[in-house]
């Protein structure tokens, strides 16, 4: 026991000191802000619950994108910075399909089938983009210093953004409204928009599908083997290139379907730049959950969504900052930096990230 109180012999480290000060300031800000907001009581319990649920559904979209980061990182130890653009590719391309389905009336006649078609289409488009990305940009760079593929990914990110801007134009395009998603579910005083339930449930279904794929299927086993040790996996007769390609494909499919779900959810529409910010946020979610960790990415996404929805109203508003909801993104990015400083192995801190980091 005495060891725990041993006299520290190290010299004063002002980096530690600054980080400690930062830690205290943040805790203080959160406590004071929350206290002020809660004691004022401007926001009712039902409103908090609504914010929470809205956060969950936004978060489930982050989670779907985050899975792509985590899958690729688990296998290649590489941050696929262009993943946000993979998400955009599916979402932006499917807007036209949604419009066409709407114009023919199919979207409102049999919405389930139409949305399913849209999700599949977006998933396949994003999958194609992700696979091309791997094949053309990343494969030649395997084994080079870590920053080289990262710079390539940044290049790919801007290349894809402006390619789609060139293809589809630079304006915003909105997904058509689907009638059955317009209503809201009333539980007591709490009012949950149907579209949020739709987002949450479809994201859950997709995540469950991925979980099944990774844990139960043969290719999933191969993926796990490659992420454990590429050389051994190769000796066991696993085609590494194919597994990596497949991983990019699966990540792309999830991102594309997230794109459609996101489109139905957000009325302001989609454009070529829509993937950038969600991409960084989803990366945050992946790191939050411990990058390389699949359940971690799901939880990290949900967590980030909720923080982002509640944070501005709870903390920033309480600190007397005007227009707190404008600073939603600031909360998310601050979250990113804080996680990277204080807990880079994530909440579920997996062994893998510690070992390979």
């Amino acid at each position: 026991m005495l060891h725990m109180f041993k006299w520290k012999t190290d010299e004063f480290s002002w980096v530690d000191f600054t980080i400690d000060v930062l830690r205290i300031l943040i805790v203080l800000a959160i406590v004071v802000g929350s206290w002020n907001t809660l004691s004022e009581g401007r926001i009712s319990f039902a409103q908090w619950v609504n914010l929470f649920i809205a956060g969950l559904s936004q978060g489930s979209i982050y989670a779907l994108i985050a899975l792509g980061y985590t899958l690729v990182y688990g296998i290649l130890l590489m941050i696929n910075f262009a993943h946000g653009e993979v998400f955009m590719a599916g979402a932006f391309s499917t807007v036209f399909l949604a419009e066409a389905l709407n114009r023919t009336g199919f979207l409102n006649q049999s919405p389930v089938l139409a949305i399913l078609l849209m999700i599949l289409f977006a998933g396949l488009v994003s999958m194609t983009v992700a696979i091309l990305l791997e094949r053309i940009a990343y494969r030649p760079l395997r084994g080079s210093p870590r920053l080289v593929p990262l710079i390539t990914a940044i290049g790919a990110s801007f290349f894809l953004q402006y390619t789609f801007r060139g293809l589809y134009g630079s304006g915003f395009k909105a997904y058509p409204q689907v009638k059955i998603l317009q209503g809201a579910l009333q539980i007591g005083s709490i009012n949950i928009p149907t579209v949020q339930i739709f987002v949450f449930v479809s994201a859950l279904v997709l995540m469950f599908g991925l979980y099944w794929l990774v844990e139960r299927s043969r290719i999933g086993k191969a993926m796990r083997a490659v992420s454990e040790n590429k050389e051994v996996a190769r000796l066991m007769g696993i085609d590494i290139d194919w597994v990596i390609l497949f991983t990019f494909g699966v990540g792309g499919f999830l991102a594309g379907s997230a794109g459609v779900i996101n489109g139905m959810f957000r009325p302001q529409g989609v454009n070529f730049f829509m993937g950038f910010i969600p991409g960084i946020k989803a990366f945050t979610a992946a790191v939050l959950g411990g990058i390389g960790n699949i359940p971690g990415a799901m939880l990290g996404g949900l967590f980030l969504g909720v923080i982002e929805a509640i944070g501005p109203n709870l903390v920033l508003a309480g600190l007397g900052i005007p227009g707190a909801n404008q600073l939603k993104d600031v909360i998310a990015f601050t979250m990113l930096v804080l996680v990277l400083i204080f807990r880079p192995q994530g909440i579920l801190g997996e062994r893998l990230s510690e070992k390979k980091a």
Binding site: D10, E11, S13
Partner: protein, 273 residues
Amino acid sequence: MAGKPKRRQNKILVATGMTKRFSGLVAVDNLDFYIPEGSIASIIGPNGAGKTTFFNCITGFYQIDEGELIFDGNRIDGRSPDQITRSGIARTFQNIRLFNNMSAIENIMVGQEPHLKSTWLGSILGLPSTRREDDDTEERGRELLQFVGLEGKGDMISKNLSYGDQRRLEIGRALASKPKLILLDEPTAGMNPRETIETTGFIRRLRDELGITVVLIEHDMRVVMDISEHITVLDYGRKIAEGLPEEIQNNPDVIEAYLGRGAAASAGKSLAS
């Protein structure tokens, strides 16, 4: 037992109760040991015995979980690697870790860091003292290159040097910090018998000519028995024996650790020879 090791010298490095854990796995377990000043000491043990972890704990690469480390009269546990180097411990690595794309002389110049005083502002302004220091650093670097036998290879990119030269350069880089204690992690790994003999002689010179205490991790028992004056044997992170070479050779625990329980009795001689 032939007798207790003679303790006529000071102990330059003393550890008591040193423990390091990795998420459940105890890599170094409640270790007490010392290194006599001015000696050539060896750490031996089977693969995975925790030898390199032990080095990493001493040099601050790992923070130890329990226990204390005293070097030259001062507590060093809890210090960062650069502080420990500044206090007089230098090391080499098991798999050579030079600054691969820098030239040999630059590697040695970086090694002299603990003794440099010039600042960035001085370099920008080109102060005379800074220039003088730069010149001195380079000159001393050339001298060290000569000492380790790399004369004339100073401007070669270090990854283009031969394997043996790289090993020597790494030791030279460690010497550049004018250490009191140098830790060598398998200095003869991958060398042929002739190179091994050269290296052994070179290690002796470190102690005899420069007065540096040497600690080495080594697999080659001939080297260990030849030059060591003090041997510590580790197995599963514990110390199982300590003492003079002849004591270690005949220690049944050591033989057992190396060869397994059954073989211990029969194979004792082969280890000794």
